[in-house]
Amino acid sequence: MSAAELASPSGPLRTRGWQARLLPLGWRRWTLWLLLAALVLVMLGIMVYLAGRYEASQVQSRLERDTSDALSDIRGGLTRNVQSLQALQSSNPSPNSWAIDAAEMLRQHRELMRIEWRDASLRTLAHVDTPYRGNLFGRSAVDGQGGRDRAQTDVSLACANARRFNGPAYSSSYFVPSSDGLGLEVIEMCLPLINSGRIAGYAVASYALQEVLANLVGRQLARSQEISFTEADGTRLALHGSARRGVRMFTAQQLLDLPGNTLVLRLDSWHSAPSLFPNVMTALVTAMSIALVSVLVLLAKDTRRRLAAERDLADALAFRKAMEDSLVTGLRARDLQGHITYVNPAFCQMVGFSAEELLGHGVPAPYWPPDRVTEYEQRQAIRLAGNVPPREGFESVFMRKDGTRFPVLVIEAPLINAQGLQTGWMSAFLDISEQRRIEELSRASQERLQATARLATVGEMASLLSHELNQPLAAISSYATGSMNLLRHQGASAPPDLDMALRRIAEQAERAGRVIKSVHDFVRRRDQAREPVAARALLEAIMPLVTLQARKLGVRVITDIEPGLPEVLCDRTMVEQVLLNLARNGMQAMEPCDLAQRVLRIEARKAASNESSGWLEWRVIDHGPGIPKEVGEQLFTPFFTTKAEGMGLGLSLCRTVVEQHGGYLGFEGQAPRGTIFSFTLPVKKGPLPEAAVAAAV
């Protein structure tokens, strides 16, 4: 595997894909079949070959057996002849009587060409020639024994051997030409004649090799095969029988070991080519059976695999069904003409139409709002033109069967079939009305917070203004009243107009005070109903805005609310303002710090300092540079601010709100850096709030 494949997580998968591409399924199947056929053919060939081999070996062994038979026939014949020759001497014959007996013997044994009786010094005492051959040795026997002279050496050699063996001995073969131009291969056999322990003479018999083959070997052996004597070097000496020539020749050779001479007996047999047909039949039947069994096994395997695949498919189908049913995402497939080919239950539920109503439905779809059909058709036309929609989807509006509309998020992807062709579009739908509603809610709550903030600021301003104006008004009123009192003490001497003017001054001052009060009351006239609120709920209400700013300023916000805190009784929106203000101040205070140090902690815990512990303490802790002393002294003074765009009302407002709840807002430095702003709020069963409520209404 290459490095790139190693690196890619889908490496093995891709490799498999590559193989699949090289050998598609069909191809693989064909290869298997071809392989099977080739195997069957090879088997067939081997079987035919083996059958032929077997047949040949049968023939060969029969031939070997025949050769052995022939050999033993020859040996037996030769031995019998030796005995017959000995029998000729048994009755101390005279040469004449011996010749009669010998001639008789020659008549019976056609293989013998001549028998001689020689004395111990090899002189011929008597001799008889075979009657069947004319005078074989006679042509050159004009001078008596001249024809035999050439054989004298062989005879004397054989007789010397015979003397040594003290038994019959044979000479090597030699050729005797006959008068008809042919000739015979002849061997001599010399038998020592022993009389009272002494060699009295020799009986010499000449064998014609061809006749030996013709007469001593069984007839049936020579019928279908050629029998021949050969020398060791293969030179054929004599031949008998004639076989039918065939395609194949089988040969068997055995040695004929005679005393003094060794000949090779050879049998040649021609055989027709082993008959192919029955062998092929057997082989075919066998092969067919094997093939059949293999095919059956393969089929069984295939069926099993098919069943498994079917089961898997059924499982996969069930799985897919369950998946589709459990999905809340609507799924819809359309073909390239825009006809719906598939919808899942979630989609049906979403639009309120049943699957039967939708399937096959073309453009315009029944869930399209009628007034948007044109727009949607254009969109679909663009899609069908092959433009892939954005991956993140687009928003659209669908209409339910009952006519209500709802926003959906549509994500479309081309539907590609197994051949890689696009057959349509698969779309996923998310009903985002709930999401919209939540967004709306969160926006509303954000707006509410901001509106409250504005209102609170205005209120605080009115409060401050009224306080600041009330001081001089109070002074004016006091002076006027005092003056009137003085005038009254002086009695009638005082001018009456002055008294009236002073009364007017007091009245006008009072009027101004009433105006201010009414403005103040108008601004402050908000539902100040205190409600029990959990600390966490307060925090959660402001967290969206806090995190928004935190992200902008790169601040990490940590919240820590002690578990088991009781609910606080408070004007929820105002307290939210306080928390929000303090959190914002804290985050802004950290702007000059390193990013790592920008951590804002918001904590809520039971206030330990208070005797009844009916108080809850909120702490907003920043890690900014801290508050310089001179700033700290003026911190809560209205319209005092360190920010360029600030109005200087935030902290003042915070303190007002907290004090209205009967709590206390303060700050302290934190070691090594930063500031802790803390304020307290009464818990639900606090001793205080009813007075505040009474006054606030």
């Binding site: 409060s463 009224s466 306080h467 009330n470 001081q471 001089p472 008004l473 109070a474 002074a475 004016i476 009123s477 006091s478 002076y479 006027a480 009243t481 005092g482 003056s483 009192n485 003085l486 003490h489 007091a506 001052a509 009072e510 101004a512 005070g513 201010i516 009060k517 103040h520 009351d521 402050r524 003074t637 007002t656 004090e659 209205q660 009967g662 205080l688 007075a691 505040a692 009474a694 006054a695 606030a696």
Partner: protein
């Protein structure tokens, strides 16, 4: 009822205009006043002199830099001075709930700025009267205490039984003394406690608590 001529009104307000105007107004009604510009200043002045023994009251602004009016009021409560020196809070609209709360805790009253001045002065006079009453009560208690300490052990026993309403004879029996002696003790107790009858004596002791 005219307040005693030595009655003093303490004014604590950070706003000089308000302070002076109030002082002027009070002077027009023949009331003495003393002004302080902060709670701390008043506190210091209060600590530097003995507890007031003439009627007085305190006009206290709720919202001031530094120590607030409420904090000062808490201190007065702690020191038990709020009875002899009734506190009237001066407040803007915003501080009304706080002021109401303060009244619940024992402040004499509160007054929203701008006030209708003579009504305020009337209220101040009432406060001074309360102060005078409290002081008189204090004084009476203190006199009573002094007289009680002048009684002998035996006289105190006799007095206890007399207040319980026992006749002389039973008192004599209980204390194991003669009726004559009881009568002597009894007349001496009446003498020392400056009362004419047993009923008067019982009332006096009950007022002491």
């Amino acid at each position: 009822m005219e307040p005693s001529p030595d009655a003093t009104v303490f004014i604590v307000d950070d706003d000089a205009g308000v302070r002076d105007a109030l002082a002027w107004l009070l002077r027009s009604r023949h009331l003495l006043s003393e002004v302080f510009e902060s709670a701390e200043q008043f506190d210091a002045a209060l600590r530097s002199r003995p507890a007031p023994n003439h009627p007085c009251c305190l006009l206290l602004d709720v919202r001031m830099p530094g120590m607030s009016g409420l904090a000062l009021f808490d201190q007065l409560i702690e020191r038990g001075l709020q009875a002899a020196m009734p506190v009237i809070f001066l407040t803007g609209h915003a501080d009304v709930p706080t002021a109401v709360d303060a009244v619940k805790r024992g402040a004499f009253d509160f007054c929203e700025k701008p006030f209708s001045d003579n009504a305020l002065v009337d209220r101040i006079e009432q406060a001074l009267q309360r102060s005078a009453e409290v002081l008189a009560q204090h004084r009476q208690h203190r006199g009573l205490q002094v007289r009680l300490t002048e009684l002998t052990e035996r006289e105190r026993d006799v007095m206890r039984l007399v207040v319980e309403g026992l006749p002389n004879k039973l008192i004599a029996d209980q204390l194991d003394i003669s009726v004559r002696t009881v009568e002597v003790h009894r007349s001496r107790v009446f003498d020392k406690m400056n009362v004419k009858s047993a009923v008067e004596l019982a009332n006096l002791l009950r007022s002491l608590g």
